[in-house]
């Protein structure tokens, strides 16, 4: 197995996720793109763990999975609250904090 295989797959997924975060207007879609980015990072962590034959990379990947689950829970709760207050989750309409 080439070492670059996993790392390049991670780079491609990361870039697609960054594009999604920039391009999407719907808050739920932006959260999905963030999931793509976190999974790209996890693939890299597992690849490095495989290269060094150590368990630390797996532990880091599990931390990332847990934090991602917490992030999605809180993020979707915030999206629900915004939708209840404004009847819309378009991110470019949330401009109250603009200076």
């Amino acid at each position: 197995m080439y070492a670059a295989n996993f790392l390049l797959l991670g780079a491609v997924l990361f870039s697609i996720g960054v594009f999604g975060v920039i391009a999407r207007r719907n808050a739920v879609m932006v959260l999905m793109s963030i999931e793509l980015i976190l999974n790209a990072v996890n693939i890299n962590l597992i690849a490095f763990a495989l290269m060094n034959d150590s368990a630390e990379g797996h532990v880091f990947a599990l931390y990332v999975i847990a934090v991602a689950a917490a992030e999605v829970g809180v993020g979707l709760a915030m999206v629900l609250m915004i939708y209840r207050n404004r009847r819309s989750i378009a991110l470019d309409e949330l401009s109250e904090m603009r200076g």
């Binding site: 197995m1 080439y2 070492a3 670059a4 295989n5 996993f6 790392l7 390049l8 797959l9 491609v12 997924l13 870039s15 697609i16 996720g17 960054v18 594009f19 999604g20 975060v21 920039i22 391009a23 999407r24 207007r25 719907n26 739920v28 879609m29 959260l31 999905m32 999931e35 793509l36 999974n39 996890n42 597992i46 690849a47 763990a49 495989l50 290269m51 034959d53 368990a55 630390e56 797996h58 532990v59 599990l62 999975i65 847990a66 934090v67 991602a68 689950a69 917490a70 999605v72 829970g73 809180v74 979707l76 999206v79 629900l80 609250m81 939708y83 989750i89 378009a90 991110l91 470019d92």
Partner: protein
């Protein structure tokens, strides 16, 4: 192709990797390009399942099972509930993208070019030795309960705070 047939490279593993990777990249592109929010969530399931399959190829079975349970089992259900609670229509929509969405293509392209260059420069020719056995779950738990104990406890509090925070935020009062 001759490089693929070298003795130290497992051909079947590489072919499996490329098939799954192609599916994942196609699914990820659909996630960020489709006009239907529910379809995006279902394509995301394809990507997350592909990630779990790659973990198995990389001898990380415990992480693969965690991925299936947490992401495909829990996070996707959350996403689908979020979509259903925030959208009046289940169908194609026209205003899912920002007006300036085209800016994302050069940004993502530049990022990809830099990362590909860095990876090829550093790991272009290195081959991973095949592991004798998948990573033992006991090894992972040893790290969790020795060096990683304090972050593990902190993570428990993060999850507790996230659960309470989500209830507080989403509650109707």
């Amino acid at each position: 192709m001759s490089a693929l047939l070298a003795a130290e490279v497992n051909v079947a593993q590489n072919v499996g990797f490329y098939i799954i990777a192609a599916l994942m990249v196609y699914g990820a592109l659909r996630v960020v390009s489709t006009r239907n929010v529910v379809h995006a969530a279902l394509w995301l399931v394809v990507v997350l399942g592909g990630v779990a399959a790659q973990y198995i190829l990389a001898a990380a079975e415990f992480v693969a099972v965690s991925q299936v349970m947490v992401y495909i089992g829990a996070v996707m259900v959350l996403f689908l509930f979020g979509i259903m609670l925030t959208r009046a229509t289940i169908g194609a929509e026209t205003d899912l993208n920002n007006r300036g969405w085209g800016v994302g293509i050069p940004v993502a392209g530049l990022l990809l070019a830099v990362m590909v260059w860095a990876v090829i420069d550093e790991f272009g020719s290195s081959v991973i030795e095949e592991p004798a056995a998948p990573m033992a779950t006991t090894a992972i738990s040893d790290v969790f309960l020795r060096e990683g104990l304090v972050p593990f406890l902190a993570l428990s509090f993060v999850l507790l705070a996230a659960a309470i925070g989500a209830i507080v935020l989403a509650r109707k009062d």
